[in-house]
Amino acid sequence: MSSAHFQYVLRLGDNALVLGQRLSEWCGHSPFLEEDIAMANTALDHIGRARMLLSHAGAIEGRGRDEDALAYLRDEREFGNFLVCELPNGDYAFTLVRQYLLDVYHQLLFEALTASADEELAAIAAKAVKEAAYHARRSGDWVLRFGDGTDESQARAQAALDELWSYTGELCTPDAVDEAMQAAGIAPDLEQLAARWREIVEAHLAAATLSVPPADWQAGGGREGLHTEHMGRLLAEMQFVQRAYPGLNW
């Protein structure tokens, strides 16, 4: 039970950390200055969220690992983030369509987690839900612009959605950890949440003239530590300094 609890919070932290790392890659490269600032803000929001969640996970584990130990000193197989978070950024449409799918998901999830039996997690969720609502508004705005924009932006957004949709199965399918946490009153009913997520996302995609792809296959394994080929490179970049100079501070 306490191991499932650790896993559950750790996974939430890993999603935030890995997505934050990906978003931060845009810093200095976004299409225009205002977007660059907004994207870096969003990346920092995710990293801030990861810090709170990983610290809490370390406390639950009770083996003296802090947020830094969990972020910088674990290997690929020990990360439990959804695969979709680690996929390379692609073009701007890909980054923002992914962001929209995850922002709405996180908004619903953190809203539900404010009622968690884990009070610390409920407090973290109460902070995260506000920024998640803003993120969803921002990425949702871009999804509309791309989808209902020019032929080129529409085609790029649709191509992004076609690829990303196959990675959303993980978000919506409870595994043993989710079920144990739901039974303990720590996590919400994921199937219910997923149904609500689909409803919101599908309506918005329709408004953006994007069509929801058939769910013919679904990638999975992120939660069990079975990652895509992209994860190793991401970790190598993120963890390099701490691996090369253990305990370095500045």
Binding site: S30, P31, F32, L33, E34, E35, D36, I37, A38, N41, Y134, R137, R138, D141, R145
Partner: protein, 94 residues
């Protein structure tokens, strides 16, 4: 980064309830919603505000430098326009 510029917007932020919106800067955005979101991310991420206005810069009609003489200098020698020639009752003095 793109070399093409989107329309320019002026940003006004109210820092606290009860205060006026103040001009804080400008930014580029495709439309009002995007300008509002960009203003939030550019100008209020260190708790600077509780409300934001964005206005298309082209919608602001401004006095020009060469208007300075005609507009503002005539006021310089009209001290009687300042309410300093009236006796203010004691009760009204703050």
């Amino acid at each position: 980064m793109s070399k093409q510029h989107l329309p320019l917007w002026e940003v006004f932020v109210r820092s606290r309830r009860g205060l006026d919106h103040k001009h804080i800067g400008s930014l580029h955005a495709a439309d009002a919603e995007q300008a509002l979101l960009a203003a939030r991310d550019t100008y209020t991420r260190r708790q600077e505000g509780v409300s934001i206005w964005v206005v298309r810069s082209s919608d602001i009609h401004a006095s020009q430098f060469e208007d300075e003489g005609a507009f503002f200098e005539p006021a310089a020698d009209k001290v009687y326009r300042h309410p300093t020639f009236y006796d203010v009752p004691e009760e009204l003095k703050l």
